[in-house]
C-alpha cells in the first residue's frame, strides 16, 4: 500500500494523523532496535517483520474490506473472550494491543492515576484517536476480571460500543453455571450484531480454526525446550502478540512453517544464543505490542527467554476446546470447560497457576523465573509473592519485577536483571 493510500484510510477512520504518525515513528524505531538488530534470526521471522510493518496498513485494509463485505469486527482485551463464538458468527476478532504509553493524560480524565498502564493505554489510544483497530471495531468486549478493567469499562463504554461479559472469581459449580450463561449471552450479542445465527456446524468449524492456531503455538512453545534455545524470547513473544490480530488461518500456516524451520535448526544443534546461556521463564501480566521493554532488557543481559507464562503466551494457548461434541449445547459446555481452566490471577484461589509455572520451568529447562507485574496491578502483585514462595519450595531461582511502560527505570531494571543472571551463570 502506498503512503497516500494509508493516510487516506486512516483519515476515513478519523485518526489524529499527526499523533498517529508520531506513534508509528516510535514503534518503527523501537522495532528496529529490539527486533531487527538481533543476530541469527530465523528466516520465518520475515513474516513477523512484514506483519508488524503493516500492522496499521494491510491488516487494517483487510479489516476495512471485511467490513465492506458486511463482516463485523470485534475487539477484545482478555483471553476470556471466546474467539470460537466470534468466528462462528462470521465476525473477525482482534485483540486490542494497549502496550504503549499514549494519551495518558487524556486517559487519566476517565480513570484514576493509580490504574495500570495497560488500562490507561487502551483508553488513551481511544481518546487520542491513534489506534485504527479500536476505530475499526463494531463491538468491543470487556470482562469483569480485575477491578481496574471492570470499572474502566464503565467509562470506556461511553466512547465505544461495548458488551461486558461477567467472568466469575471462583471455580465452583455455581461459577461454571454463571460463565456458561455468559457464553450464551455473548452468543446472543454476536447474533444480534451480525444478524447471523450461530449454528453447531459454524461453531464446530470455528473451534477447529482456533484450536489449530493454539496447536501451532503449542508446537512452538514445546520446541523452545531445545538447547541451545532455537528462537529468541522476543520473537516468540511477537508471535504470540501477532496471534491476537492476524488472520487465524494465515497465522497458523505461517507459524507451522516457522516451526518446521526451527525443527531443522534443532537437528543441526543451532540456536540463537550460545549453549549454556542462562534460560529464563517469564511469568506474569500480559505484554501487549509494543511492550518489549523487559524481554529486551533480559535478552541484552546475557540470558535467553524460553517461555512466557502470560496471557500473551501459555495462558492463552495451553488448552484446546474439545471438538467432539455434536450439538450446540454440548459445544457450549465444552467451551465453558476450556475457558474455566484459565489460571488468571483474578481468580481465588488460583493455585493451579503455581503448579503450571513450576511445570513450565521444568519442561523448558529454565534456570530461573522472572515475574513481571505491571505497576498498580493488584492481582499479579499478590501472586508475585506466592509465586516467589512456590519457586523457593521448588528450588527455582526467582526474581520479581514490577514496572510500567515508562523508560525511566530501564537502567535500574537492567542492573537487577543482570545481577540475577550473574547468579545463574
Amino acid at each position: 500500500m502506498s503512503d497516500a493510500a494509508h493516510t487516506a484510510m486512516w483519515e476515513r477512520l478519523d485518526l489524529d494523523i499527526e499523533a498517529h504518525d508520531a506513534l508509528l515513528a516510535v514503534l518503527g524505531k523501537f522495532y528496529g532496535d529490539i527486533y531487527l538488530a538481533q543476530e541469527g534470526r530465523l528466516k520465518g521471522a520475515e513474516y513477523l517483520d512484514f506483519v508488524l510493518s503493516e500492522v496499521h496498513g494491510l491488516r487494517i485494509k483487510e479489516l476495512q474490506d471485511a467490513k465492506a463485505a458486511g463482516k463485523k469486527i470485534v475487539g477484545t482485551f482478555c483471553v476470556f473472550v471466546p474467539e470460537e463464538l466470534t468466528l462462528a458468527a462470521g465476525a473477525v476478532q482482534v485483540g486490542l494491543c494497549a502496550g504503549a504509553k499514549a494519551g495518558t493524560e487524556l486517559a487519566e480524565t476517565l480513570v484514576p492515576r493509580n490504574t495500570c498502564d495497560l488500562i490507561k493505554s487502551f483508553i488513551g489510544f481511544k481518546l487520542a484517536r491513534i489506534c485504527p483497530y479500536t476505530e475499526s471495531c463494531d463491538l468491543i468486549v470487556g470482562e469483569t476480571t480485575c477491578d481496574g478493567k471492570k470499572k474502566a469499562y464503565e467509562a470506556f463504554g461511553e466512547h465505544v460500543p461495548m458488551h461486558v461479559m461477567e467472568v466469575p472469581q471462583c471455580k465452583a459449580p455455581c461459577d461454571r453455571t454463571l460463565f456458561r450463561a455468559e457464553l450464551v449471552r455473548y452468543k446472543e450479542a454476536l447474533e444480534q450484531l451480525t444478524g447471523q445465527t450461530i449454528t453447531a456446524e459454524a461453531l464446530a468449524e470455528a473451534t477447529k480454526v482456533v484450536n489449530a492456531k493454539r496447536r501451532a503455538l503449542q508446537r512452538l512453545a514445546a520446541l523452545r525446550a531445545a538447547e541451545p534455545a532455537p528462537i529468541s524470547g522476543r520473537d516468540a513473544l511477537l508471535v504470540n502478540q501477532i496471534s491476537f490480530y492476524d488472520d487465524p488461518v494465515r497465522f497458523t500456516a505461517k507459524i507451522n512453517e516457522l516451526c518446521d524451520e526451527i525443527e531443522a535448526r534443532i537437528t543441526k544443534g543451532q540456536g540463537v544464543a550460545p549453549a549454556k546461556t542462562p534460560r529464563l521463564l517469564l511469568a506474569g501480566c500480559p505484554m501487549a505490542v509494543p511492550n518489549w521493554k523487559l524481554p529486551y532488557l533480559i535478552e541484552s543481559s546475557g540470558a535467553v527467554i524460553v517461555g512466557e507464562e502470560s496471557c500473551i503466551g501459555a495462558r492463552n494457548t495451553r488448552d484446546c476446546t474439545d471438538e467432539t461434541p455434536g450439538n450446540l449445547d454440548a459445544m457450549l459446555d465444552a467451551l465453558c470447560d476450556r475457558y474455566m481452566k484459565i489460571d488468571c490471577a483474578c481468580f481465588t484461589p488460583n493455585t493451579e497457576r503455581l503448579d503450571n509455572i513450576a511445570a513450565m520451568a521444568r519442561d523448558l529447562k529454565a534456570d530461573g523465573v522472572i515475574h513481571y507485574g505491571l505497576l498498580f496491578c493488584q492481582p499479579y502483585a499478590h501472586e508475585a509473592m506466592k509465586v516467589g514462595k512456590a519457586m523457593d519450595a521448588a528450588g527455582i531461582p526467582y526474581l520479581s519485577i514490577e514496572t510500567d511502560y515508562g523508560m525511566e527505570d530501564a537502567g535500574q531494571l537492567k542492573t537487577r536483571v543482570e545481577a540475577f543472571v550473574e547468579t545463574l551463570a
Partner: protein, 252 residues
C-alpha cells in the same frame, strides 16, 4: 607484575582500585559530575589499564569507550569486595548515592537473594543529601548533628519531597534541628531494615557504600540489628575492589 583495575562508576563518584600481586596497589576517587566520560579521561590520563573491569550504573557507558573492559553489576561487585574483606559476612547492605541494595551473601561472596529500592530515591544517599541541604549542612555535618539529637519525632514520609515538607513543619513547631535530623536518619534505617528483612537478614552484616561513612546511620543500624555492622575502612571502595578481584579470579 600483572595489574587488575576495578572501576566503579556510581551516580555521585567514580572509584578506581588497582590490584597487583594479590594486594591493593592504589585507589582513587573522582566526582562523577555531568560528564563521566570526561572524568574517566582525567582518571586515565596516563594510560588505560589493560585489564579493566567496570561496575556501577555507568558500566555500559565505560564499555562503549573502553571495549576491552569487562562489565559486572554493582551487586556482584560489592558482594565480592565485601566478601573478601569479611569472609564471615552473611548479609550485605549497600547504601549509595541513588540506590540501596540488600544482598544475602553465600559463601565466597556469591550473591543469594537481593533487593533494590525502586526508582525513587527514598532511603538512599540522595535522600539524606537532599534533607541535609534543607538544614544548609553537608551530609557529614548532618550526620554529626543527628547524633546529638535525643528525642526524635517520627518522620512518616520516605518521599524526599514530602520529608522536606515534614521537616519544615516540624521546625516551625519548634522541634530542634538535631531531633529532626535524627528522625530523618531513623526513617532511612527503618526503611533499610524492611528491605534487609526481605532478603532474610542473617548476621553478621557488612555495610558498604558512601552512606556507611555517616556515623548516625551506622549507630542506628547497630541499634536496630543489636550488633555492630562490619565496616570496611573505605566503604565506598568495595565495588571497585570487587570488580578488580573478579577480574583477577576469572582471568587466572
Amino acid at each position: 607484575m600483572t595489574e587488575y583495575a576495578g572501576l566503579d562508576i556510581g551516580s555521585r563518584s567514580i572509584k578506581l582500585v588497582v590490584r597487583r600481586g594479590g594486594a591493593v596497589a592504589s585507589s582513587r576517587r573522582l566526582p562523577t559530575t555531568f560528564d563521566p566520560l570526561g572524568q574517566l579521561e582525567k582518571l586515565f590520563a596516563h594510560g588505560v589499564p589493560e585489564r579493566l573491569a567496570v561496575t556501577g550504573y555507568g558500566r555500559e557507558l565505560a564499555r562503549e569507550r573502553y571495549p576491552q573492559a569487562r562489565a559486572l553489576t554493582e551487586i556482584k561487585a560489592h558482594a565480592l569486595g565485601a566478601g573478601s574483606l569479611f569472609p564471615q559476612a552473611a548479609t550485605l547492605l549497600d547504601i549509595g548515592g541513588q540506590d540501596t541494595k540488600a544482598v544475602a551473601l553465600l559463601p565466597g561472596g556469591k550473591v543469594g537473594r537481593f533487593e533494590m529500592n525502586d526508582r525513587c530515591a527514598a532511603g538512599t544517599g540522595k535522600f539524606l543529601e537532599y534533607t541535609a541541604t534543607v538544614f544548609g549542612l553537608s551530609v557529614a555535618d548532618f550526620g554529626r548533628l543527628a547524633l546529638t539529637g535525643n528525642d526524635a519525632p517520627l518522620i512518616s514520609s520516605m518521599c524526599t519531597v514530602f520529608a522536606e515538607t515534614e521537616a519544615t513543619t516540624l521546625m516551625a513547631r519548634g522541634v530542634s534541628p538535631a531531633n529532626i535530623a535524627l528522625g530523618l536518619h531513623r526513617a532511612v534505617v527503618a526503611r533499610t531494615m524492611a528491605m534487609l528483612g526481605r532478603v532474610g537478614l542473617t548476621a553478621p552484616l557488612v555495610f558498604v557504600g558512601g552512606v556507611a561513612r555517616n556515623p548516625c546511620i551506622v549507630r542506628l543500624l547497630a541499634d536496630a540489628l543489636g550488633q555492630e555492622p562490619l565496616l570496611p575502612a573505605e566503604p565506598d571502595l568495595t565495588g571497585a575492589l570487587g570488580a578488580a578481584l573478579w577480574l583477577e579470579t576469572t582471568a587466572a
